[in-house]
């Protein structure tokens, strides 16, 4: 049965590797797996070339190729008869295909070693279902976007926009965005990472479905899947995460048996058994604000959403986040000085009957540990250490964002300091790792330190 490439879109997700047969000028066949078959249009596909030595040589001698693809849902096989047209080593097609490989390479510590050499473009001469491949009829429902689907997408956009507009502060905006993504799109494991330009790192500031431990996780720009999405500012959808990682690790093992040093693999920030990943850059004009990442145990979970549509949703979220961060900065700047404000309703800083909490600030690592367990590092750590020290010296428990901004020792950037997001991160980390010590918002640009145990501060 003849099919159109668009009818077998699930085969292009890469969940089950495709195979390609070629032949040299002497008629010697060669058969191998392909890591990526990319749908270009109804008449063309592109194959990724990384280590395709023999296949590439064969195609130079004989442009004919045969590819077999398998639908990951039904396991039905399809065969494409192809004619090699050209290799693209730059341009939009190359960049799109390269992005996926770069992300996997970075994630498996293979940056620069495992990379796309070329996107080989083929004309599709025929595409057929392999009759008799399955002993039971496949349940291959028709694909395509219905009018209902379009309406659903518009409602989804409206839903997210409403949540953003309703948010009163950065923390509630982050929570409501993730809630909307779960309620409307079914993204039940998601996280928002905000970009700190001064450190060139992204920090997980909010998450849903991963448990609390994801908050505070960091990734450098360009590292791993999320770091690559941030650097390239392009959406990445990996329906075949597990297969891609296995492939990448196979390459890593082979490369490791040769010369050269490989970087450590970066652990996934979420589900240990994730089968698919969607990472969307959040940008305002060309400026990176952060990344939304979603994971799922279903390899086909994110395949139904159109990438352009998800980018529109992401733009809404990015503008909302950026606006809220700027507004938080304005509010903080307009906050009255501490002396003029009413005293915050906080409990005494110390309750002596509880065993003391030992907080240690390691100068060389710029990190704070609570009873030998890592709590937080960098600017949020310096903020906490400042207010803890001040509280211990003077007994003061309330603080303002303004006094943090004027303290150059904290190292806040002069513009776009993301102070509000750093305080959110600090609050979440304390709630999770040290619930006897809390940072409580007490008004516009103000917060209080609340300790339910005696504190022992050590600096090393």
């Amino acid at each position: 049965m003849i099919v159109r490439p668009c009818d077998i879109w699930r085969c292009f997700q890469g969940v089950i590797p495709s195979i390609i047969a070629t032949a040299d000028r002497h008629g010697i066949p060669n058969v191998t797996y392909i890591s990526q078959v990319h749908f270009v249009d109804e008449r063309h596909v592109a194959l990724s070339r990384q280590f395709f030595n023999k296949t590439s040589r064969n195609l130079d001698e004989n442009p004919a190729a045969s590819v077999e693809m398998i639908d990951p849902v039904t396991l039905q096989a399809y065969r494409l008869r192809l004619k090699f047209l050209r290799s693209e080593k730059s341009g939009p097609l190359f960049e799109t295909m390269s992005m996926r490989i770069d992300a996997i390479a970075s994630h498996t510590g293979m940056t620069g070693i495992f990379k796309l050499i070329a996107a080989d473009v083929f004309e599709v001469q025929s595409a057929e279902m392999v009759d008799g491949f399955l002993t039971e009829p496949c349940r291959n429902e028709p694909a395509g976007v219905s009018l209902e689907g379009k309406r659903t997408e518009i409602r989804g956009l409206q839903w997210v926009s409403e949540r953003i507009n309703r948010a009163t502060d950065l923390e509630s905006l982050l929570a409501s965005v993730l809630e909307a993504l779960e309620e409307y799109f079914g993204f039940s494991h998601s996280a928002v990472l905000l970009y700190d330009e001064s450190r060139q790192r992204l920090t997980t500031i909010a998450s849903r479905g991963f448990g609390p431990s994801g908050i505070g996780a960091e990734v450098a720009l360009g590292d791993g899947l999320i770091g690559t999405v941030a650097r390239e500012q392009r959406l990445l959808r990996l329906p075949s995460l597990e297969a891609d990682l296995r492939y990448g690790r196979a390459v890593r093992r082979e490369a490791a048996s040769g010369a050269g040093t490989l970087q450590a693999e970066i652990p996934l920030p979420g589900l240990p058994d994730a089968q698919s990943v969607l990472a969307i850059p959040l940008t305002v004009r060309t400026r990176l604000v952060g990344v939304i990442a979603a994971e799922d145990r279903d390899p086909m979970r994110f395949s139904e959403w159109d990438e352009a549509y998800l980018q529109v949703i992401a733009n809404q979220i990015a503008f909302g986040l950026d606006h809220m961060i700027e507004r938080a900065d304005d509010i903080n700047e307009s906050a009255p000085p501490l002396e003029a404000s009413a005293p915050p309703p906080v409990r005494p800083a110390v309750v002596s009957r509880r065993p003391p909490l030992r907080l240690t600030y390691y100068k060389s690592d710029d990190a704070i540990f609570v009873d030998d367990e890592y709590l937080i590092r960098n600017i949020p750590a310096r903020i906490l250490w400042k207010v803890l020290g001040e509280s211990q010296r003077s007994g003061r428990t309330d603080f303002s964002n303004r006094e943090l901004r004027v303290d150059t020792a904290l190292g806040l950037p002069p513009v776009k300091d993301n102070l509000e997001s750093r305080l959110i991160l600090l609050r979440h980390r304390l709630q999770e790792k040290c619930p006897d010590l809390l940072i409580v918002p007490t008004g516009r640009g103000r917060f209080a330190l609340r300790a339910d145990a005696p504190l022992e501060l050590i600096e090393r």
């Binding site: 195979i19 010697i28 060669n30 491949f133 297969a243 082979e254």
Partner: protein, 151 residues
């Protein structure tokens, strides 16, 4: 080399088969099982009758065949190329070997997320048994060594 021969004959492998017609048009299909009693000097690959018509036609005309054996979990892969010396319908007593190979393959895929029940719906019997003389053996594990001659 002995280890590699052993790995090529382990259960649970993915078997890829490439053939070519007299005009140089290649074709691919999936095999279900392989067997060798002489350390891969010769190799028999089992192809489902239902899905290997083009391959069998090509083999009849050119005798050229390439067989790749790949472990789905770690991608350790070997490609063997050679000339077909016999093509026949697999005997009834070989069906147990083919069934075991499919079951092992289904178990392997089950470990990486493809349900066993689904893999078992893949047509596998009756099968053609294609025996080839292995003339070349190549490393095909993805990576910089891919394409290197093993034998």
């Amino acid at each position: 080399m002995a280890d590699r021969v052993q790995r090529c004959l382990e259960p649970g492998l993915s078997i890829l088969v490439g053939t070519v017609d007299p005009h140089g048009m290649p074709a691919c299909c999936r095999g279900i099982a392989i067997a060798s009693s002489d350390r891969l000097e010769t190799l028999t690959v089992y192809l489902p009758v239902a899905t290997s018509q083009e391959a069998i036609r090509n083999i009849a005309l050119t005798k050229r065949i390439a067989v790749a054996a790949s472990h789905p979990v770690d991608h350790c892969s070997t490609q063997m190329k050679g000339t077909t010396i016999e093509t026949r319908l697999a005997h009834d007593e070989e069906s147990a070997h083919v069934q075991r190979a499919l079951d092992a393959f289904a178990s392997t895929l089950d470990r990486i997320g493809v349900p066993r029940q689904l893999t078992r719906t893949v047509a596998h019997w009756p099968a053609f048994a294609v025996t080839m003389r292995v003339e070349d053996m190549f490393e095909q594990t993805p990576g910089p060594q891919a394409g290197c001659r093993l034998r």
